[in-house]
């Protein structure tokens, strides 16, 4: 069963195809360009290229898995609206996976996964030894996250603020991992579970100030 995986929650603009069967799954094509300012330009050509590389037609797809963030809003929406529109056009289900879960925990260790939330903050979550998310996702300053007790940290947010986290930071995985997205959605894909609305994990309110009273123009 051919599945499309999309994630734009980090600067790594990702489109991939995977073959999912009851006995396991294989990633057949993976396109990833790291550019935090060009999600909109990169996403669709990557999908096109992934299909070509796999020798597949878009009509072969049976489901779409999308990273729901958290991530910087503008880029995050690109992946989600692409997944939603393609799912609608093809009449196939869409499944959401928290993008931090696709970075996930290091087996056997309590792990902090953190991505860059800009404005000097990180999006973060904590995973127990079994890889289950036990805290988050949240958005906070690195110093707030540093107060948490973990054995190891991963993700581009952890790498960026490594000197402030006070914990060992691994180089990889730096961004959400395609294979993990597929693994976390495999059960739903194989069961033909109902399509899910792809609700972005914004974690922040929009910047907006209510209009105040009229300012005087007379001296």
């Amino acid at each position: 069963m051919l599945v499309l995986v999309l994630d734009t929650s980090t600067p790594a603009v990702t489109a991939a195809l995977a073959d999912v069967t009851p006995t396991g799954h294989t990633v057949t094509a993976e396109l990833r360009t790291v550019d935090g300012r060009a999600h909109g330009e990169l996403m669709a050509p990557e999908i096109d290229e992934a299909l070509r590389k796999s020798g597949a037609s878009v009509r072969d797809l049976v489901a779409i898995v999308a990273g729901t963030g958290p991530g910087p809003f503008t880029g995050l929406r690109v992946g989600l609206v692409t997944a939603a529109s393609m799912g609608q056009a093809l009449g196939i289900p869409t499944y959401g996976v928290c993008s931090l879960d696709a970075i996930g925990g290091v087996p056997g260790q309590v792990t902090l996964a953190a991505t860059d939330a800009r404005r000097r903050e990180v999006y973060w979550a904590i995973y127990d030894q079994a890889g289950t998310r036990v805290e988050g996702p949240h958005v906070d300053l690195p110093d707030v996250v540093a107060a948490k007790t973990v054995a190891v940290a991963v993700g581009d947010g952890a790498l960026k603020y490594a000197d402030r986290l006070g914990v060992k930071v691994l180089d990889e995985p730096r961004y959400p991992v395609v294979d993990t997205f597929v693994r976390l959605a495999a059960e739903r894909i194989l069961a033909g579970a109902p399509s899910e609305p792809l609700t972005p994990l914004y974690l922040r309110r929009p910047d907006a100030v209510a209009a105040g009273g009229h300012k005087s123009v007379l001296p």
Binding site: E41, F73, L80, V81, V209, L218
Partner: protein, 347 residues
């Protein structure tokens, strides 16, 4: 492909999520979801609020349009989308969605100019546009005069606002007068019960402005003049004749817009004036434009109010025109361009 292509248009440049479907110049569907109520308490459109609303509205609005037209995505010949100008984050939702639909349905995509689409929408109501024509586009986001040589390839900007857009001036004056956002409709209503007795300034109409700003607009000074006038009244403890202020302000805006539009027609020897954008729904603007144009033998074309404001039908209308004219589609890496120049009809 026939000269009556079935084209779907997607619009998300500001606070309206629009999906329109046309066959040739026949409108089949015009589905719209507006986030205007979410912005009301901020007194203007908040970009992030608009972008979030576009994401939520995209799929249901598309479904309503397809149902209304009785077609499927497999039936359409092309997908057009506003690629600019507009709010960057808002545009991006529509552009990414359009690409998703185009890739999934294996259709060509056209990234088109929002302002050219405001002109093209009139073909749905009044048929093919005589070229060249002059277009006056006025809304909360833009105030422009264009020379339309060829709607498929060439639009020449003649002038635009150097400060506030006309619709923005309506919003700000409405707020000053205690009226709700958006300000156009309440000012129009109040003006009907008032007299244009107050002489407010007409920006960039003085003889000295003719050389550099003959076809440009300025509404910032007008807005300030209204504020000063109202405040002086309030300080003197006198009642503010709200209806008269509304009528006088509206008259000042419409006077400048129509005078410059007619001047542009005469300067370029053009006998057709198209008016579009949300402010084109203003009753005074329509009447004054008709009156002045009739005197000099110019025909005014204004689509019905629902087509004047932002919608998907206008994007579909322009897309259909481009397909029929044999213009090549855009590439899949087409960007959302918040500052897309008027000289680009499509990318």
């Amino acid at each position: 492909m026939t000269d009556e292509p079935l084209v779907l248009g997607i619009e998300t440049s500001c606070d309206e999520t629009g999906v329109g479907i046309v066959r040739g110049t026949t409108l089949l569907a015009d589905a719209l979801a507006s986030s205007v109520d979410l912005h009301a308490r901020f007194g203007g459109v908040v970009p992030e609020v608009a972008s979030r609303a576009h994401l939520e509205a995209m799929v249901p609005t598309m479904q309503r349009a397809l149902d209304e037209a009785g077609v499927t995505l497999a039936d359409v010949d092309a997908i057009a989308v506003t690629s600019g100008p507009g709010l960057a984050g808002a545009l991006l939702v529509g552009v990414a969605a359009a690409k998703g639909y185009a890739v999934a349905a294996e259709k060509p995509i056209y990234g088109v100019n929002h302002l050219a689409a405001h002109v093209a929408v009139d073909t749905l109501e009044h048929g093919p546009l005589p070229e060249p024509a002059i277009a006056l586009l006025v809304s909360g986001g833009h105030s422009s005069l264009l020379l339309v040589d060829d709607l498929a390839t060439g639009v020449t900007p003649l002038g635009s606002t150097i400060d506030d857009a006309a619709g923005e001036a309506f919003d700000k004056v409405a707020r000053l007068l205690g009226m709700p956002f958006p300000g156009g409709p309440p000012i129009d209503r109040a003006a009907r019960d008032g007299q244009a007795t107050i002489a407010f300034p007409r920006g960039l109409t003085a003889a000295k402005d003719q050389a550099a700003h003959r076809f440009d607009f300025s509404f910032s000074g007008l807005k300030t003049a209204v504020a000063r006038w109202v405040e002086a009244r309030e300080r003197a403890g006198e009642p503010v004749p709200v209806n008269d202020v509304a009528a006088s302000f509206q008259d000042a805006v419409c006077d400048v817009l129509t005078a410059k539009a007619i001047d542009a027609c005469r300067q370029h020897g053009v006998d057709t004036l198209v008016i579009g954008g949300g402010v084109a729904a203003n009753s005074r603007l329509r009447v004054l434009a008709e009156e002045r144009a009739a005197k000099v033998g110019i025909r005014v074309r204004v689509p019905r109010p629902k087509l004047c404001t932002d919608n998907g039908a206008m994007v579909a209308a322009l897309g259909s025109h481009l397909v029929a004219a044999g213009v090549r589609p855009s590439r899949l890496d087409l960007p959302a361009d918040s500052a897309m120049p008027l000289t680009l009809v499509s990318v």
